[in-house]
């Protein structure tokens, strides 16, 4: 499959108050970005259950983005993003044990005013995941199973 026609499927879990606003703004401002990221808006990055990320990979995502408000101070709920930065290093460690490349998972912070940064992330991350090729979690397990 690793051909040039491969279009990665990326799921982005974005907090309503910062990164989603940035993504919205990037779109409205007609910033150039590939259409590979399917955005799921959540109220806070602290609401992102690690199971969402695992399920995205299990169901066919080639990459996952988690993004919220800058800590400390930007979170609409004061400390929701603290939960995020406490959890995500462990999610990274899990993915490493599962054999999923760290380049397939990005987590970080983009404020509502950083539409340019969002568009750049989408361009860079899509290219990065495209270079890795498809993950195809279920199919690769089934094809190598016996």
């Amino acid at each position: 499959m690793g051909d040039n026609n491969f279009e990665p499927k990326i799921v982005g879990f974005l907090c309503n108050w910062c990164t989603y606003t940035a993504a919205d703004s990037a779109g409205v401002s007609r910033m150039e970005q590939p259409p590979n990221v399917d955005i799921i808006r959540v109220m806070c990055s602290g609401r992102i259950d690690p199971a969402f990320i695992l399920k995205a990979f299990a169901e066919g995502a080639d990459g996952v983005i988690v993004s919220g408000c800058h800590p400390p101070g930007d979170c609409h709920y004061s400390t929701g993003n603290f939960k995020t930065f406490r959890r995500m290093p462990l999610v990274e460690a899990l993915l490493a044990q599962y054999g999923i490349e760290k380049e397939r998972f990005h987590w970080g912070w983009i404020s509502g005013a950083e539409a340019v940064k969002w568009a750049q992330l989408v361009r860079d991350f899509t290219a990065q995941v495209r270079a890795l090729g498809p993950l195809n979690w279920k199919q690769q397990l089934a094809s190598k199973e016996d």
Partner: protein
């Protein structure tokens, strides 16, 4: 057998340690009540029945089969299909059949890696010729075959339809008896139910005193002598209580942290993710660097958070290498 109205019962072990069998014996004198109420038609660990005895039964002959153990080999899978066919009600009995359990942690490796380690590398191995198990070997007397060892450990429900699940490593004797009484009464719960366990979490049953959690450092059980009155998790010991179906909080009662053997509570799809979430969110760190350092000290996250449930989890196993 068969001429009376006694329950026709079968018990089988696939890839398991034998603990579930001990748990049945742990019924103690009630095992005599079980014998009075049921004819045991198949129980390899205790009674001398052969696979051919099961094969000779008409389909659906056994009323209930309690199946413990995960599916590790082609023999396990064959027996799962056979016992499914011969049983009216098939019960995934114990953590291995339910969610893969400790044998399921081998899903972080594949057959080749496991054979390499077990048959060639372990210090206690004396295998100068480097022999590895072969499914078929020619001997002077003819061909000898052994079951195929799969790359991946599966749960019982991943290979056949399962009617009920009894969680636990092993299931606790009073709960086993409650399940047997339910079966004998004929008042079976809706198909697919988890039976012999509670609906709430271990934390809900635990008697330790809980406070707001601020964890600066995680301890493994051997690294700390816990205060017997306070919540173990509050003291930095990773306890699976928040993400585990209630068993009566047996381990915390004796100051050992819950390890998660009863599996996820209702409505949790991935026990490990739920536990990871609970553990990480109470880390007392207000900077990214400090948080990363504290959670980075957790040894083997998959083994810690998915100790009993890796095969049943969202990702099932680690990625398989191209071979």
């Amino acid at each position: 057998m068969g001429q009376n109205s006694k329950l026709k019962l079968g018990l089988y072990w696939a890839a398991s340690c034998g603990g579930c069998e001990i748990a049945i014996v742990e019924l103690r004198e009630k095992i005599l009540d079980l014998d009075a109420a049921a004819d045991i038609l198949f129980w390899p660990v205790a009674l001398d029945f052969k696979y051919k005895d099961v094969e000779a039964m008409p389909d659906g002959h056994m009323d209930v089969c309690l199946f413990n153990g995960s599916i590790r080999t082609s023999e396990n899978e064959h027996m799962a299909h056979l016992l499914r066919r011969k049983s009216k009600v098939l019960v995934a009995f114990g953590s291995c059949a339910h969610e893969g359990c400790i044998p399921g942690l081998a899903n972080l490796f594949d057959r080749q890696t496991i054979f390499q380690r077990v048959y060639l590398e372990t210090p206690s191995t004396d295998n100068a010729q480097g022999l590895l198990p072969q499914t078929s070997t020619q001997m002077p007397e003819g061909e000898v075959t052994i079951p195929r060892f799969y790359n991946t450990v599966k749960t019982l429900a991943q290979v056949v339809d399962v009617d009920y699940t009894v969680p636990g490593c092993p299931p606790q004797a009073p709960q086993i008896w409650a399940v047997i009484e339910t079966i004998l009464s004929g008042q079976l719960p809706p198909r697919g139910s988890v039976v012999g366990a509670n609906e709430k979490t271990v934390c809900d049953e635990c008697k330790h005193k809980r406070e707001e959690k601020h964890i600066k450092k995680f301890y493994r059980p051997h690294e700390i002598i816990p205060d017997p009155d306070r919540c173990l998790f509050d003291q930095g010991i990773i306890c699976a209580g928040p993400a585990t179906r209630g068993c009566g909080a047996l381990c915390p009662t004796v100051n050992m942290p819950c390890r998660g053997c009863y599996g996820p509570p209702p409505n949790v799809i991935d026990q490990g993710a739920a536990l990871l979430s609970a553990v990480a969110s109470v880390v007392d760190a207000d900077t990214e660097e400090e948080a990363a350092r504290i959670v980075g000290e957790i040894v083997d996250p998959v083994g810690t958070f998915y100790r009993f449930g890796l095969p049943a989890s969202l990702l099932h196993r680690s990625r398989l290498a191209d071979r």
